[in-house]
Structures are given as C-alpha cells and as structure tokens.
Amino acid sequence: MTLEDLAQAGVEAALAAGASDAEGWCEESVSREIRVYNGAVESLSDAGGRGIGIRAFLEGRSGYAYGTDLGEQGIRALGAAAHASAAISDPDEHAGLPAEFGVTPVPGLESAEMAEWTTERKIELALAVERAARSREGISQVEQAVFSDEESSAAIANSRGFSAAYSASQAWAYASAFAGEGDDLMTGIGIDLGRHPGELDPDAIGAEAADRALALKGARQPESRRCPVVLDAFVAASFAGFIGSMLSADAVQRGRSLFAGREGEVVAEPSFVLVDDGRDPGGPGSAPFDGEGSATRRTPLIDGGRLAGYLYDARTARKDGRSSTANAGRRSYRTPPVVGTTNLLIEPGDATLDELLAQAGDGLYVTDVAGLHSGVNPVSGTFSVGATGRLIAGGELGRPVREITIASDLVGMLRAVAAIGSESRWVPLAGSVKAVPLLIGEMAVSGS
C-alpha cells in the first residue's frame, strides 16, 4: 500500500465509525544523525518511522487519533478512536475541512543526489566541520559537530475526494565551538542546510562556529545604557520567528497576540517587509500543500510598515470570513494541524553589516539572545531578553559583552528600524527564517 492508500484507509475507517467528514495524514521518513567529537564518531543514529494521524469531524465537533500500527485493524481502531474523541469535544461552527484543496509545485524539494552519499562520506563531512572549527587559533574545543539528514514523504486524503503526496530531502550540519577556558569561556555556533549533503560547506560551518566564539572571547558585563542596537541575522531571525507566531490568526482570535485588531495599522518602519512563503524552493518549511490540503502560497504579513494580514488555516479563516493562507502546519502525524509559519522572509535592504555598524556609531551588536519565549509578553509585546555580543564604538566592533538584557516592545522595535542589512541567510534554528541584520535606532540595554 502506498502512503496515499494508507491515508485513504484512515479516512474510510473514520467514516465507517460514524464521522461525517474525515482526513488521513500519513508519513514515512528515514533519517540519520552523525555526531563527532575529537576526531571520532561519538554517535551514529539511523531512524525509520511511519505513522498515521486521523482527523474526524462530527457535525462541527472534531477529534484526532494517531498511531504507528498501519495494519488493517490498527487503522480501523484509530478511525474509531478519532471518532470517539470528536464526540466529547464541543461543537465549533467553524471547524471542518478547507473549502478548496490544491497543490503548488515546488521544484527541487527532493534531491536525487542524496543517494550518492554513503554513511562514510557523511562521517567525513562531519569530521571536516569539526576540523575547520578546531583549526582556528584560540579555539579551545569543539563541543560538538553534527551532520543530519532526512528523506521524508507525506500523503493526505480526505472525505471530499482530495488526495496528494510529496517527498522532500534535507541535510544539515552544525558545530558548537568554545573559545577560552573557565570563567572566560564563550561559545559560538555555525550552521548550514541544503537539500543534500553536497550543498553544505563544512569549512564555512566550522569557521562560522569558531568566529562567533572568538568574537566573544573575554566578554564582560558592561554598564547599562540606551543606544542603537544592531541585531545580527541569527538574532533578527529569532525575533522574526516570535513575531510570526504572534501573527497566527489562532493567537489573534484567542486574544493572545499584540497584533489583534491591528490589521492595516502602522506596526513597523515603512521599509520593513515580512513575508511568509511556503513555496520558496530553498526553504526548509516548503511543501506543495499544508497540513490539511490547501495549496501553499506567499502571504505578506508586514508590508510598507503596515500589518498586511494574518496566517490562517481553514478554521480560523472561516471565523474571519477569509480564505486559508495554507498555514495549517503539521509537526508530525502525532499532532493535528495548527496554524504556524512556513518560511518567514525578511526582505533584504541595501546596507552591508559594516555600514550598519558605521551608522550605529556607538551602540551594541547583538549576536545571541536568550529567553525570548519567556521574556516577551505576547499580548503587550514588551520584552526583556538576555543578550551577548560586542559593543560598537566609533562605528566599529569593540569589546565583547555578556550578561546583559535588551528591552523594548516589539512594535516599538519594528518602528525604530533605522536600516536593513543586505546580507540574507537561512537561519533554521527555531522554525525557518531567511533573515538579514537590522539596525534598531535605540533600545534599553541593562548591565551593571
């Protein structure tokens, strides 16, 4: 049986149990992870998984069941469990399958070159990442260098007669390097991704980890100040990811977002543009359809400084009288679809990093933030998060700093964007974001 057949069997099982509408989502994946340490393999994992999740609707009520038993009896039991769980939920007039289904072709999601990579070559790649980081002077240790890849397929079927499937491949490598010892130790990470291992540059990944750690060597807590702040692409991506989660129509409708009721309002400096794009060929979050069968698309979120729209799945779209933006995300077959970003893109500006620093004059260059999800009030948008980086003195990078917090509010920060960097890159650390460095006119920086 193909994955589409299995998804279809899930639909039939739920309908047979009494569901009025149903959807089956079936996944299969093979993945590897290779960790190396001190020039040798530390762990090598090979994983294969296959499972199904079934969503059952019963006159506005919905329920979900998932499992790994894909035999006839197993699927029948899951269909019955999905129907039984729907029976205990309260009716929601907006719940249900999307009104339209479709598939957006995304070229190059799957790479045939994956097959040419033996385990030995992948180990060699991970070792090369480690070597590249360790060979930099001043690096005391490479805590870990990791290669990982996955080949996955997903299929959907529903009781309205839609079914589709796709396959994708992805490879990542990253390293974490240490500079200094004891109380002076600082860390840095380097990361890259592609559709197959050949797209990764081990030297660049190792060098990035080393350079990020070395740049912070000897960091001390500075005095508190208010000053211009340059966020590097990693940090800009973290903030963009958080803002993206606040633009989910689910968060908005439930009153848990600072962007609720602000469509069309000015929420950012006019040159700041933020887009969700589920069909960008390079994006790790891309797919032909979302977790409930809507064709993926490009959705402007902040455009010309104004809040252009929210991210919708079928249910939240129906509630607002809109169309789904195909943002019903699936983390895996183990969870029902939830509204989420696909790939977030911050539109690049025209300033190089050096130009941003020069424009900042005296300020702070932030290369890492910690505690974003605990340090931001999602409803008011006020935040205070931990940061590390370098001071900016006379338009150039100065001494490294740590144990500081930066505080502002999200809209205040977006409206204070003074310049936008031109050097964009994928940052797959939390979700998928293609980000550029940003210069913020002023923020509160607290240290000693």
Binding site: Y37, A40, V41, E42, S43, L44, S45, D46, A47, G48, G49, G51, S62, G63, Y64, A65, Y66, G67, T68, D69, A81, A82, A84, S85, A86, I88, S89, D90, T119, E143, G182, D183, L185, M186, T187, S224, R254, R256, R334, A370, G371, H373, S374, G375, V376, N377, V379, T382, F383, S384, V385, G386, T388, R402, E403, T405, A407, A444, S446, S448
Partner: protein
Amino acid sequence: MTMVDPELAARVLECALERGGDLGELYVEDRRGFALSLDDGKVERPQAGTERGASVRVVRGDASYFGHVDGLGEDGLLRVAASVAQAVRSDVTASRPLGPSRPAAGHPVAQRPEDVDAASKAALLRSCDDRARAAGDEVIQVTVGYAEGRRRVEIYNSDGLAASDDRTRTRLTTQVVARRSGAGDGPRVETGSDTRGGHAGFELFAEDAEAVAESAARKALTLLEAVDAPTGRLPVVVGNGFGGVLLHEAVGHGLESDAVQKRASVYAGRLGDQLAQPGVTAYDDGRREGEWGSDGIDDEGTPTQRTTVIEDGRLVSYLYDLIRARADGVESTGNGRRESFRHLPMPRMTNTYFAPGEATPEELIAGVGRGLYAVSFGGGQVEPATGDFVFGISEGYLIEDGKVTAPVRGATLVGNGIEALAAVDGIAGDLHIATGYCGKGGQQVPAGVGQPHVRIRELTVGGTAQ
C-alpha cells in the same frame, strides 16, 4: 507477559553485537496517551495516541550506534539490529545471558486515567474554567489543558539486564488572561498560569483540582496592578516550587556528566569544591514517590535513586548514565533518560531541588532592604559551558524595607550559575516540587523542578523601568 519475548530479545542482542561492541541494548516501548483542552469555554482538541516501537544501541569505546523501528515485529527488530551492527567495527564482545526479567518498583497509581471516562475529564476542564472566571470580571481568557500518558518499557542488555517499568503521568495546566481597559496608554493585558501533575493517576485531581485555575487567575489579576520592574543589581528571594527552575537550569545542567566530561560545564573539575555556603544542600531524586520527574528505573534499566549533588555547600557528585559512568569509573546514578524509543539516552535530571532549611519565607524577605521577590518564572535558558543564564519572571514583586510591596512586570534575571549558587544566603523550609518539561539535544523529558524559598544576595535584574 513481556512485550518482547526474552528469547527474541537475546537473539536481537546477539545480532546487534555480531561485529562486536562493549554493550548491546534493546529498548522496547509501548506509549499511549490522551489529551484534551478547553479554550474560550469550549472543550476542544481531543487527541488519542498509540505507538509501539523499539531501538537498538551498541556502544563501542566512546561511540554509540543506534537505530529504531516502529512496531515490535520480529523481522523489524532483527533488521534494525543488523543495520546497527553494520556500522560497528570492534574485536570486543562481552555478552552475558539475560537474567530474569525484573520489573521496577513502580509508583502507585490509585485511579488509572484510561479507566476514567472522557466526559469526566471534560467536566474537570469546565469546572477549572468556571473557577478561573469566578476569580474576577477582568478575566477574559481561560485555557485549560489535560494530558495523560502511559509508557511501558522493557530494557534488555548484553550485561544480562532484563528490566521493565510501567509509567503513568497525568497533568493539568491552566493559563488565564486578564485585561483592564486603561486610561491613556491603552488596555493592560497580563497572563498567569499554574500546573498540577505527577507520576500518578487521575487521583491527583480528586481534591480541589480547580485550585490550579484559581491560582492562575490570581496571578494574572495581580499583574494588572504591576509596575515596571527595576533595573540593576539587587537581592532576590526566589519562590518555592517552580522557582527551582533556576537551580535546574543554572546548576543542574552543568552537573550532567556528558557536559562535564567534554569540559562544556563550569562545574567540570570542581568536585569537592565549596561552591555554596555551608547549609546549602541539593539533590537529584528520581525515586521520590509520585513526583513528576520520577521513574522506577531510568531508560537504561538502572534503578532511580536520590543523588546528593551539593552537600553542605560542597559539590559531591555529577549525574551519570551508563557510558559516562564507565568513563569516570563510577556507577550510573540512574540519570540515563530518553524521550522515547526514538532517542538515544543521555544524562538528564529527574527531580532536582534544594533541601529545605530552617528559615521561614517571611524571615528571608525581612532581611532584604530593597530587592525583588521572584515567585515564578515564565521560563529560562542557560549556556552550560559558561553558566550564564536568563530567566523571565512571570510573577514578581518589589521588596521594600523587608516587606513585599507592588507586583512588577517585565523583569528578567540575568546571571551566572556558579556566582548565583555562591550567593545563596538563606533557605526556607517550605519545599515544593513543580512539573516541568526539560529540553536538551532535541529531546523533551518530564522533569521536576523545586525548592523551598531561597534568597540570593545579589543578581542582575533586567527591568523595563526607564
């Protein structure tokens, strides 16, 4: 009746060690779960899951080779064992026949959650919703979540181990949003949350489970009165229960032996050192009855135990799994944990907490002229290699002249674990352990975080006050 026949388990281990290895292991798991939530007054998102699978691990020297498979069929188990064996090159094989299967001393479950009908669970969510809304007119949003899970595991290894554990956890969480229409700078909106959970059954909710909802509502309503947090270096009294996340993040992760052995921890090489004042003692305790982070055995089959990590201010032990214990020539402390059969075990905390002291919380607060009372954190993050941490305070108050005064919002604690530990200058007697999920290396495991009220002489508070 075992999930995998011991005779088959022995064949899988033999196959896994075909090309040698110091340790072969088969980990078998059956996971069942059910979750339900309530939002906006509506019961929604019911989810039921059933998964079965196994993983095979071969350890050779410092390297681990690992594979997993969904399902427990003989073909699948032997195939994954053979594929793991393919990767290993070794001339060592030390395999002993499996001993008799040893079920772990489990934790009592008085009322199996799967025997409670779903309607009663939905009713529990509704009564939490009612209680939270009754707390005040300014409560505008209530979210209640219920989750239960049962994990039955069997572990077989080439040292002859055959062990099993049957783990049931239940958890109830409430999040409340309160709103006050303001004059001038727009409405104030604040959130509060609270949780009750354990390695236990539905009996956990027999007595006033709705107190969780009331407490979450009270926190949100209190924050409506909050003033901007101060900025600077201040004495901080940290609340009991979830306040222990500070110990978990800023100290506990640095005591996990994988980080220590890679010298990726500020606590590496510090065993025996006086890191805190005398009178400060901390444990990791995986056998504490019914506690959220407890199990009968860890995920390598080692019985859980109470490990003293800090004794009278001295660092006395790290937390070990089997392979790191072997490297240090010590016994595993029962901290080899994994999220599921899909993951490799690694050293993880179970329930980590400061031992209770003699003081009362009031006495700790009375000793502070101007400071911060951090009752609860929204979360935190630490860099184990440096010990630097950041915590967002979800419920906090000013301390002025030895008394708790106005609630504050937007406060963040920033510091360094080793410095904060040395600065602990008072511990109360009111130990309480809260339920958390701890993430490390892409794996989430339930972890108990706790402590009595603790006072820290000075920490950096990153506030929002201008």
